[in-house]
């Protein structure tokens, strides 16, 4: 027994040492090389001529797909800017927050001691609410790619969003369904331990009442119960729903589609921007998503040059199609670049000076980004973004504009 323990101890020690070597490597890797392709936190050695941008996001854990997408999207933008040359250069440092507010604050403090000048906030809503308060107190400008809760920007003059807020999506969804006459009897399946899902659902129900849409029922699930939806689907079927509204991310949505298909139940499905990514999900039969409608700011199959270049670069680096989180983060970096140029900021300025300049400038700029649908993205002084959610329908395994 004792010798076994000893063996276990030696093995563990060996593993730690080998990992220490790995960690050391990725820590010192320069983002100019292809080391950043490994998906590790890549930091460039400080040159003193680049703005230090920090962000927190779930790089590990159940929400890691969103954090990694944002990190990768932002990294591509940073590298593109570096290749193109120019006065404004960035160093990017993404820290893991595991989608927990407490860890996000720790990660934020870590970035602060690294010397972060501009923040990308947090990727997800709950950590975003926590870090945005610190952004506001420390006067470090933040532009979050995807923390969509209105609480993130409320009462903070220097926190801006790249994504449209949760209530806006609920509102737009209800209007879309009403205008296009997509369904008579609507049923909602929502996740009641999630800010994102609850925020969209609440506004959707309020707006549906206003527009006279017939919501026949709703049911909930949580993280722990997201592996079986037969009860919810049976309930929807019994109540005669012909349209099911799914304000959730694509992982549970894919299961709902699969189980509805197995039951032989074929209502129309309507999703929001979290549904984006369902076509590229591993182990999901994309043909089941035929006819699913969703609202998304980003379409990986868009014809324009910028989107195609971004998608090609992302696919060659990471071997998967980028979702809207990656596109939003990519746009964030270019929005910051545009704002910094407009404000005439230089990398030797302190975080607070940059913050004051950007707060002035941000409501005045217009960015033609990947997620702006050609019309450009603007912000108002509260920090909310103004861009229209776009209705898409999945046909032959691709998004097609709905109107």
């Amino acid at each position: 027994m004792n010798s076994k323990k000893f063996l276990a101890f030696t093995m563990a020690a060996a593993m730690t040492l080998s990992l220490a070597a790995c960690g050391g490597d990725s820590g010192s890797a320069s983002s100019t090389g292809d080391a950043s392709g490994a998906g590790s936190t890549s930091t460039v050695e400080s040159t003193g001529s680049a703005f230090k941008i920090g962000g927190t996001g779930p790089l590990t854990g159940t929400a890691a797909i969103y954090g990694l997408a944002a990190q990768r999207g932002a990294q591509i933008a940073v590298d593109e800017i570096q290749e193109a040359g120019g006065d404004i250069q960035f160093e990017l440092n993404y820290q893991d927050d595991q989608n927990v507010p407490e860890t996000a604050v720790n990660a934020y403090n870590n970035l602060k001691s690294w010397g972060m000048q501009i923040s990308l906030g947090s990727v997800t809503s709950q950590p975003g609410i926590a870090t945005s308060v610190y952004n506001n107190e420390d006067r470090i400008f933040a532009l979050t790619p995807s923390a969509s809760s209105p609480d993130v920007i409320e009462g903070k003059d220097n926190v801006f969003q790249m994504c449209f807020s949760d209530p806006n999506q609920g509102l737009a969804s209800a209007q879309y369904i009403s205008e296009q006459g997509l369904g008579e009897n609507i049923y909602i399946i929502w996740k009641n331990d999630d800010v994102y899902s609850t925020g969209i659902k609440d506004q959707f129900v309020a707006e549906a009442e206003e527009l006279g849409l017939n919501v026949v029922g709703d049911s909930t699930f949580t993280d722990d119960t997201a592996n079986d939806f037969t009860v919810q689907l049976t309930d929807a079927q019994q109540k005669g729903a012909d349209l099911i509204f799914l304000p959730m991310y694509y992982t549970p949505a894919s299961l709902i589609l699969t189980q509805a298909d197995a039951m032989g139940y074929e209502p129309a499905f309507f999703g929001v921007d979290g549904m984006d990514g369902i076509l590229t999900m591993d182990g999901f039969d994309a043909s089941l998503a035929e006819g699913v409608m969703l609202l998304t700011p980003f379409n990986a199959d868009a014809e324009d040059e910028a989107t195609q270049a971004f998608v090609a670069e992302y696919e060659s680096r990471y071997g998967e199609t980028p979702n809207q989180f990656a596109a939003d983060a990519y746009d964030c970096i270019y929005a910051l670049k545009l704002a910094l140029e407009t404000a005439g900021c230089t990398p030797d300025m302190s975080a607070e000076e940059i913050n004051d300049a950007l707060v002035e400038v941000f409501p005045t700029i217009t960015l033609t980004g990947l997620t702006g649908d050609g019309e450009g993205i603007t912000w108002d002084s509260t920090g909310a973004v103004s861009k229209a959610p776009k209705g898409m329908v999945i046909q032959d395994g691709a998004y097609v504009g709905m109107d």
């Binding site: 004792n2 010798s3 323990k5 000893f6 276990a8 101890f9 563990a12 020690a13 593993m15 730690t16 990992l19 220490a20 790995c22 960690g23 050391g24 990725s26 820590g27 998906g39 590790s40 936190t41 790089l59 590990t60 820290q95 893991d96 927990v100 507010p101 407490e102 860890t103 604050v105 720790n106 990660a107 934020y108 403090n109 870590n110 602060k112 001691s113 709950q126 609410i129 926590a130 308060v133 610190y134 809760s149 609480d151 009641n192 331990d193 999630d194 800010v195 899902s197 609850t198 609440d202 949580t222 993280d223 722990d224």
Partner: protein
């Protein structure tokens, strides 16, 4: 010096624990006051959570180490303390303006409510003989998580409003939303300070040491070591296990309030099974029944994941391995013999060289 040497072992141990906590507090406060940059922004942000986790570890050690029952749902008590305490703190925002007093009131209330829930669970379960407490507390933690996720609580001039499952509260002018379902609690100000945390840890130590080194504490340990023998000399096992469990639940509630009041926002999902296990890890690593061990383990394991950020993607993996290493190293006679042997050999070589 002689007096310290001739002290009872338990007195020496508690004296050491108090000294440890006080010295750590003084050193950190001195660094914060006199060194530029203080203790660094990362540690600075972790001071309050560390105090909360230390108190949690002490509380759980009372159940697991001293009374010998396994609780797998202590995060549930922390959750109750956090939500109840923070609601009270927010509701009293305008009536009690002195922050430390408001925090103390909230902590007391958080402790009382968590202790009450501990009592409710203890009544049926602690009468049974076996591992039932572990099963019931495990379920309790999950139930609390699911319930709190659906609570909407607000307060305005007319008094508190409560709704369940969906938000039907109609708050008047100046009303505050205290708990907002899945969004949890969002504090408008963070009133928990490191000093408050330090005081809480001292109070927890004081309560636990006085309990353990009293007649009651000896009865609790007797019931742990041999239930039948304890019953045969007239000790009411249920009563004494209950005292330990309710005290522990109340301390966990106070720790929850401290934690909650130090965060910008927190949700019920934070206090899940993983948190319960994390606290159990603190206790096991520090040693069952060993209070200073719990203090050190809780502080070290809270700092560790942040200290490992340089490992980037491998961070949590390294964390797990370090944990295994420490567990093996602190409890491995073969390793100690191995190290001792190397030392001997070196000494022999040195002597040989002479």
């Amino acid at each position: 010096m002689n007096r310290i040497l001739h002290m009872k072992k338990s007195t020496r141990s508690s004296l050491f624990t108090y000294t440890l906590v006080i010295v750590a507090y003084v050193v950190i406060q001195l660094l914060r006051a006199f060194r530029e940059g203080g203790v660094g922004s990362v540690l600075e942000g972790q001071l309050v959570p560390i105090c909360a986790y230390v108190t949690m570890a002490l509380a759980l050690n009372l159940v697991v180490g001293v009374s010998g029952e396994l609780s797998l749902g202590h995060a549930g008590f922390m959750s109750i303390g956090a939500f109840a305490g923070c609601s009270v703190a927010a509701a009293l925002q305008n009536t009690v303006t002195l922050d430390p007093l408001r925090l103390a009131l909230s902590m007391v209330l958080g402790a009382v409510i968590a202790g009450f829930f501990g009592f409710l669970i203890g009544v049926p379960v602690l009468r049974l003989n076996g591992d039932y407490l572990a099963i019931v507390t495990l379920a309790f933690g999950e139930i609390i998580k699911s319930l709190v996720t659906n609570i909407y609580l607000g307060v305005d001039a007319d008094g508190p409003q409560f709704s369940f499952l969906s938000n039907n509260n109609q708050l008047g002018e100046g009303g505050i939303e205290l708990i907002r379902g899945p969004v949890g609690v969002t504090n408008s100000e963070r009133i928990a300070t490191f000093t408050a945390g330090f005081v809480l840890v001292l109070v927890a130590l004081f309560i636990i040491f006085n309990l353990v080194n009293s007649r009651t504490g000896r009865a609790i340990m007797a019931a742990r070591d041999n239930r039948i023998a304890a019953e045969s000399v007239g000790i009411s096992v249920t009563k004494y296990k209950m005292i330990a469990f309710v005290t522990s639940a109340a301390l966990a509630g106070a720790a929850g309030t401290l934690y909650g009041c130090g965060q910008v926002t927190f949700t019920a999902t934070k206090f899940d099974f993983n948190t319960s296990i994390l606290i159990l890890v603190f206790v096991v690593l520090g040693g069952l029944g060993n209070m200073w061990g719990s203090v050190i383990a809780a502080a070290a394991l809270t700092i560790l994941p942040e200290a490992l950020r340089q490992f980037a993607d491998y961070r949590m993996l390294v964390y797990a391995i370090v944990l295994i290493l420490v567990m093996l190293a602190t409890n491995n006679p073969t390793l100690w013999n191995f190290i001792a042997r190397i030392r001997e050999q070196r000494q022999e070589k040195k002597e040989g060289a002479k």
